[in-house]
């Protein structure tokens, strides 16, 4: 990857608008306007392509350290670049858990060495995700990784008092607690959404109320102590309603939705193929509708992938023995186009807000999610919204292949990704 090349993106449609040229030089957007002089710049034909600010993922599992057989920081960062991302937040539930300054700095360095996108570690809220003792949040915030997002994701911080303390404590360094909302007692042995399908299939149910009760509690707590709260992977209609209500009261809450919860429903479990097993589980068509509406009206602030790589053997098994989670970095933008843009719910400026600006704001990533304007960091994604592709798990850049979109035809293709002016993806290929 040459550090010095200047790129001229010719004829790109900025946020889906009129075609213009973008000149990327020295890591920033040097000029914007029609008919720019190429000079010594390498010209990228971007005619018909949509230019978006580089995407930012608030919720990525990179598995390193500990489960390098499923993903590494480097392989996950490459998958992110292929999906149009220039920054990802690496979740803390690694082995060892990212609950100390040492581990978050290790992940941060691995990301910087890989170079495909900025890897921003998320710190655990509690030691070893035990839900009982606060991790050294301040040390992680003060470390070179500069952690601002803290989460026990995969587990809920279910103890109300501990959650209150965590919310309060991170105010000292402008942190945010990202809650995995799952009341543990209501979801013991839970396998899938509780409802008509789980009852027929004889799989233990994960009721919507187990998510909604925690969200309601935490919104009230955050409001009481005046803290910032983020809700991970919102999956139910009731959750959207509660967050809308909390925001109307002035609670400083933000929320994310995954691409798969915007598209897939629990009836896919009829096959008992655990490729569809995920936590929180796929819900009903009514929930999908509410999530799309919530994302469109801003109740839900952003899309986050919850990219969760697993090796083949973790999924080629009985449903109840299978791991939960699905990969999503390389399909997220296509799914959002399909679910939100092609349905008229969101325009491309809206996509830029929900997939770049908002997650960067929530994660306090100053160099990302910025407008494509002169002087701003040259983090750019070029996207061909007119392409279609059949999803091929074996063609994934991720080390894992557990995509639920296997064989589906999805719209769109990431053509190029630039990280501070350097292409990580060009002509649809990783650089």
């Amino acid at each position: 990857m040459s550090q010095t090349t200047t790129y001229l993106l010719r004829g790109a449609r900025l946020l889906g608008g009129h075609p213009t040229d973008l000149l990327l030089r020295d890591g920033v957007v040097a000029a914007v306007g029609a008919g720019l002089d190429a000079g010594d710049a390498r010209v990228v034909d971007a005619e018909g392509l949509i230019a978006l600010p580089g995407l930012v993922d608030l919720h990525t599992h990179l598995r390193e350290p500990g489960r390098e057989d499923a993903e590494t920081v480097a392989s996950g960062a490459r998958a992110a670049a292929m999906g149009g991302y220039t920054a990802v937040h690496a979740m803390a539930n690694t082995d060892p858990v990212a609950d100390t300054a040492g581990v978050v700095e290790q992940v941060w360095r691995l990301g910087r060495d890989a170079g495909y996108c900025d890897v921003q570690p998320v710190g655990a809220v509690t030691q070893n995700l035990d839900g009982a003792h606060l991790a050294e949040l301040g040390a992680m915030a003060d470390s070179i990784a500069g952690v601002r997002v803290f989460s026990d994701d995969g587990k809920c911080v279910s103890d109300a008092l501990l959650m209150r303390r965590a919310l309060e404590y991170v105010k000292a360094f402008d942190g945010v607690i990202a809650q995995h909302a799952q009341e543990p007692r209501l979801t013991e042995h839970a396998q899938m959404n509780e409802g008509v399908v789980s009852d027929r299939l004889g799989l233990a149910g994960w009721p919507a109320v187990a998510e909604e009760a925690i969200i309601a509690r935490d919104c009230l707590l955050a409001e009481h102590v005046g803290s910032r709260l983020h809700i991970c992977h919102v999956s139910t209609k009731g959750s959207v309603q509660i967050i809308r209500w909390a925001k109307s009261r002035g609670c400083d809450v933000t929320a994310e939705v995954t691409p798969h919860h915007l598209l897939l429903t629990d009836d896919l479990a009829e096959s008992y193929d655990p490729i569809y097993k995920v936590n929180p589980p796929l819900r009903t068509a009514e929930d999908v509708r509410a999530l799309r509406e919530g994302l469109a009206d801003g109740t839900i602030d952003c899309v986050a992938t919850d990219h969760a790589p697993h090796p083949i053997e973790a999924k080629e098994t009985e449903w109840s023995n299978a791991a939960m989670g699905m990969i999503g970095l390389e399909t997220a933008l296509s799914v959002v186009q399909h679910a939100m843009v092609d349905t008229g719910l969101l325009d491309w400026a809206g996509v830029a807000e929900r997939m770049s600006a908002a997650p960067a704001r929530i994660g306090r990533l100053g160099g990302h999610g910025r407008p494509l304007a002169v002087g701003e960091p040259a983090n750019v994604t070029l996207y061909d919204a007119d392409a279609t592709r059949e999803v091929d798990p074996t063609a994934m850049v991720s080390k894992s292949a557990n995509t639920p979109y296997r064989g589906m035809r999805l719209p769109g293709r990431v053509v190029a990704t630039f990280l501070r002016g350097v292409p990580t993806v060009l002509d649809g290929k990783i650089q």
């Binding site: 409802g195 009852d199 799989l203 096959s271 008992y272 080629e316 449903w319 109840s320």
Partner: protein, 308 residues
């Protein structure tokens, strides 16, 4: 019909064909030589991941009476205990040329998963809390033999519906065959969406009994009360157990069924279990005939079941 995974996969005609074939085959059990050559040269594997003496022996007897070669593969003492996956076990059975695999597994959907990995016919002998289709078939067979019909028959199924694969299969099969099913349980032991099932629901056993031709009692495990499904075994028994007084509320010709194993004193009292109107041992006998019929229809090809 390539596999038997769910009672819901059976059409009315297919279900009746199985019951009619079972009746034909039941004649064999009355002969001094209880053996037919029908499945000679076919291999049936009994793949049992859960302890189940009753069901395994029933399938084994059924296959042997049809002259099939039977391989019993139990999770204990096999490669499974060394951590082999279901898929690898399936591929092994495939390589050994199993024509049919009878699977009992603690995970719902295991039979369906197995069917995706082997070429032979898969028979679900109970998967987790999902289904147990041959149990439902033998129950329907028993009802038809005793009551002479299934259409319009009023069947009460009482007990732990939530965790019962027997209840799920029976509701599906009996509704296909035109019976009227009422599920009776405390609300905690009913699925949340039970209203969408093709049956009625009641919390009151005393109210349902006088209007029932068949009452099927399900086992209720005492450990359920640790998870607060009901306060105590005694209270469960008081409200939902079939004792002598409740038994007296049934119509005179009504029968009492139980898929076993039963817990006497919990869901059923000893005098009811041992009454002539209880079909519990008959169900076991009929189980062999019904499983012979299913094996024949899945593996037997076009020749007649009994031969000439």
């Amino acid at each position: 019909m390539r596999h038997l995974l769910s009672a819901g996969d059976l059409s009315r005609d297919e279900a009746l064909l199985i019951l009619d074939t079972a009746r034909e085959l039941a004649q064999v059990s009355g002969r001094s030589v209880k053996k037919l050559p029908t499945l000679r040269g076919r291999t049936v594997v009994n793949l049992f991941y859960e302890d189940s003496t009753r069901t395994r022996i029933s399938f084994e007897a059924a296959a042997k009476r049809m002259s099939a070669d039977v391989i019993n593969f139990s999770a204990k003492g096999s490669s499974v205990s060394k951590g082999e996956s279901l898929k690898d076990t399936a591929l092994t059975l495939q390589a050994m040329g199993a024509d049919g695999v009878v699977i009992r597994h603690s995970s719902s959907g295991a039979a369906r998963r197995l069917a995706g990995w082997v070429d032979g016919a898969v028979l679900n002998a109970g998967d987790g809390t999902h289904e147990h289709p041959t149990q439902a078939l033998l129950d329907a067979y028993t009802m038809r033999e005793r009551m002479g019909r299934l259409e319009g028959l009023r069947v009460a199924i009482v007990g732990d519906i939530l965790h019962s694969r027997v209840a799920r299969s029976n509701v599906l099969l009996l509704s296909t065959l035109g019976a009227e099913v009422t599920l009776v349980a405390p609300p905690t032991l009913l699925p949340v969406s039970v209203g969408a099932w093709p049956c009625a629901v009641s919390y009151d056993l005393d109210e349902v009994l006088p209007k029932s031709d068949v009452v099927m009692m399900l086992r209720v495990q005492a450990e359920r009360m640790q998870a607060a499904f009901f306060p105590s075994a005694r209270e469960y028994s008081r409200r939902y157990g079939l004792d002598r007084d409740r038994f007296a509320r049934l119509p005179d010709d009504a029968i009492v069924m139980h898929p076993g194993p039963m817990i006497r004193g919990m869901e059923i009292s000893a005098e009811v279990a041992d009454s002539p109107r209880s079909t519990i041992t008959e169900q076991v006998t009929n189980g062999v005939s019904v499983r012979m019929a299913v094996l024949y229809l899945l593996l037997g090809g076009s020749e007649s079941a009994i031969g000439n």
